[in-house]
Amino acid sequence: MNFTLTEDRQMMQDSLRRFLTDRYSAERRGALIAAEAGFDRDIWRDLADLGAVAALFGEDQGGFGGAGFDIALVFEELGRAGALEPMMEALIAGGLLAEMGHGDLVARIIAGELIVTLAYLEPDGRYDLSPRTTRLTEDRLSGHKSLVGHAEAADLFLVTALGPEGVTLALVPRGADGLSLTAYPTADGMRAAELRLDATPANTLLTGALPLLERHIARATLACMADTLGAMETAMALTITHLKTRQQFGRPLGKFQVLQHRMADLAIELEQARSAVINAAGQLGTNQEARHISAAKNLMGRTARLMAEEAIQLHGGIGMTAEYALAHFAKRMVMADHKFGDEDHHLARFIALSAT
């Protein structure tokens, strides 16, 4: 066992952290969230140039990473900085495309030139991975997909549907016939859209796609947890700074014993969250993957809510304001529980997996 990063990963972490600290401020983030695009194309290309996208793919796929710890490393930095770029879309859609043999598209994703997004959720489907009403008939897609990440910026949509041969993955370009988007901001500062398809021509890539989909949603869940871990680190750091500087009743808030003890509990939970992410990253691809992903997602759901609520509370009024940096991280942490299955969803899954 070894808990230190390899030299390569340490370099990637250092350069990502430097780059994102340099490019992201609370003001810059606020402006990006308020703008239509929802992220910064320049930052996205620079991230690609830094190799942050390539780190998510194996060497055989044109990248130089692709392991659980690579994914965790990249997303922890994005969460820590509160970055908004479509890295999650690159991870999921890129990963699926790579395994389906579309190296040409993957190369362009890694280069930051192409945005492909996966459309798999449906209204009333909650966290179900299987399409329920979207159908593929004679190479045409019809249905309604929910919460498609960064849809407005996407060049291609990878869509799950029920086809004649079961769960099918099909590719649709933006602007295709019968395709329409209703875009909106999400509570975590990202952008998403409802995607409606009406006999839209589509290119079938894979049938019987559920096992592949499950595998890549597991990777995405790890990424989401690492992102949350990063956001927790920042919330913790902001709160410590606030407690050290803000004076009340004649001394810094951080000298009040009751706040000290609550911070101590947060410090402990932050380490627990880090361990849960490490466990999930280390078990990615093993036969223990699902159990560790669900264990970790449950723990992250609990600890992230605690961190967000306590960070706001310990900040007092300033913690409630939109312009202060904490607002974004608090929302990002809490809303992560609504992605890829929440705390209770994964607890039930963990119990089911433990019983076997």
């Binding site: 909106y184 007092g316 607002a327 609504h338």
Partner: protein, 396 residues
């Protein structure tokens, strides 16, 4: 000890229910039910309807135009109005300032201000908090300097709820800069139309802007607007904080929120069944319902003891802490109930934007969860309340 309602109380409940059925405008109750923001006009319309019936000031003595209800009657009124999705009564004039003027105001102040609270001519807001002072009210810096028949007020107040609608503000100001901490503070009534008053909205993390900063630059306030004695404002502020918190437990809000939560949990699908049948979710919901059933009784016990002349004082701090914890828990469960559909984020400023995105009931939920994190911070943080309980109730 008797938990059943008397015949009079039951009759009163029927009367309230009938009144609401007849007089509560349908568009208003629909807005409240769906968690849509209410306009200033909405609030004023509802106040006016209640005032017409003599029910706007349930807690005021009859001599001042109030209904002088018992604790149980107030509880019944709150239960029925929240059940009917009536708007809440805006508390600043009615629950906060009114009783202060009734106890400490001059006859002239009472005669001038109290009727205008009832008829809606004055919309009050509260000027207590200041930037950098947090829950430490005694450290406030806004100064009022006597100059002839006026005070000249300079300083800044913050977290002023609905200050954008108000035309009057009651303020704590420092009149003796040499006195220590809680002395040298006075309680002043300020016309917000006075030259030198500026209001600036603060956007909260849910995207809404219901709180404000209020700036005072050399604002002249007639000495006649001083409540009680100069430098004794802290006494009146404490009176306001500890004696007039009849609704501090927020039972009505919680009951309404729980009803909404149940409706959503019945509507939401979870796998093959309904969310309400998920045992983990049902357990979370049941626990908070059980806590609320107990708090409802704790609330009535404390209020009825207060009505028998035992000062509620620090006991109301218990209601504040547990009441806000329960409300926040209900908000949390409602957010959870939505699953992925909690993600589309629609703040006040984006009215109509989520059409066709998620169920109608999903619309206000996430914003409300984040907005109500304020409950444990504003109005004396729960940390301050716990210290009050420890010292004043437990004697530690």
């Amino acid at each position: 000890m008797d938990l059943t309602y008397t015949a009079e109380e039951t009759a009163f409940r029927e009367e309230v229910r009938a009144f609401l059925a007849e007089h509560l405008p349908r568009d208003l109750s629909e807005k409240v039910r769906l968690g849509r923001p209410l306009s200033k006009q909405d609030h004023e319309a509802w106040h006016s309807i209640l005032n017409g019936r003599g029910w706007l000031a349930g807690n005021w003595p009859k001599a001042f135009g109030g209904a002088e209800w018992t604790a149980t009657e107030r509880h019944i009124f709150e239960e029925e109005t929240t059940r009917a999705h009536a708007p809440r009564i805006v508390p600043f004039g009615l629950t906060m300032l009114g009783p202060v003027l009734q106890h400490f105001g001059t006859k002239a102040q009472q005669e001038h201000f109290l009727p205008r609270i009832l008829n809606g001519e004055h919309w009050w807001c509260q000027g207590y908090s200041e930037p950098g002072a947090g829950s430490d009210l005694a450290s406030l810096k806004t100064r009022a300097v006597r100059d002839g028949d006026d005070y000249v007020v300079t300083g800044q107040k913050t977290w002023t709820t609905l200050g954008q609608y108000a035309n009057w503000i009651f303020c704590l100001v420092r009149t003796d800069p040499t006195a220590k901490a809680q002395e040298g503070i006075s309680f002043l009534l300020i016309d917000m139309a006075s030259p030198g008053v500026t209001v600036r909205p603060i956007v909260l993390l849910d995207g809404g802007a219901e709180v404000n900063e209020v700036f005072f630059h050399d604002v002249r306030v007639p000495v006649a607007n001083l409540v009680g004695e100069e430098n004794k404002g802290w006494t009146y502020a404490k009176f306001l904080l500890t004696h007039e918190r009849t609704n501090i437990a927020g039972i009505g809000f919680s009951n309404a929120g729980l009803e909404t939560l149940k409706r959503i949990a019945h509507a939401e699908r979870d796998g093959a069944g309904r969310l309400i049948d998920n045992p983990l979710f049902a357990a979370r919901l049941a626990r908070v319902e059980i806590d609320l059933m107990a708090l409802s009784t704790t609330n009535l016990r404390i209020l009825s003891a207060a009505a028998r002349g035992q000062a509620p004082g620090a006991d109301s701090s218990m209601l504040k802490v547990k009441g806000t914890v329960i409300r926040q828990e209900i908000n949390d469960l409602t957010r959870r109930a939505l699953g992925p559909m909690a993600l589309p984020f629609v703040s006040e400023g984006l009215e109509g934007a989520n059409d066709g995105i998620a169920p109608d009931y999903a619309r206000p939920v996430t914003a409300q969860y984040f907005n109500n994190r304020k409950l444990s911070i504003f109005g004396g943080s729960n940390e301050v309340q716990r210290s009050i309980i420890a010292k004043q109730v437990l004697g530690l």
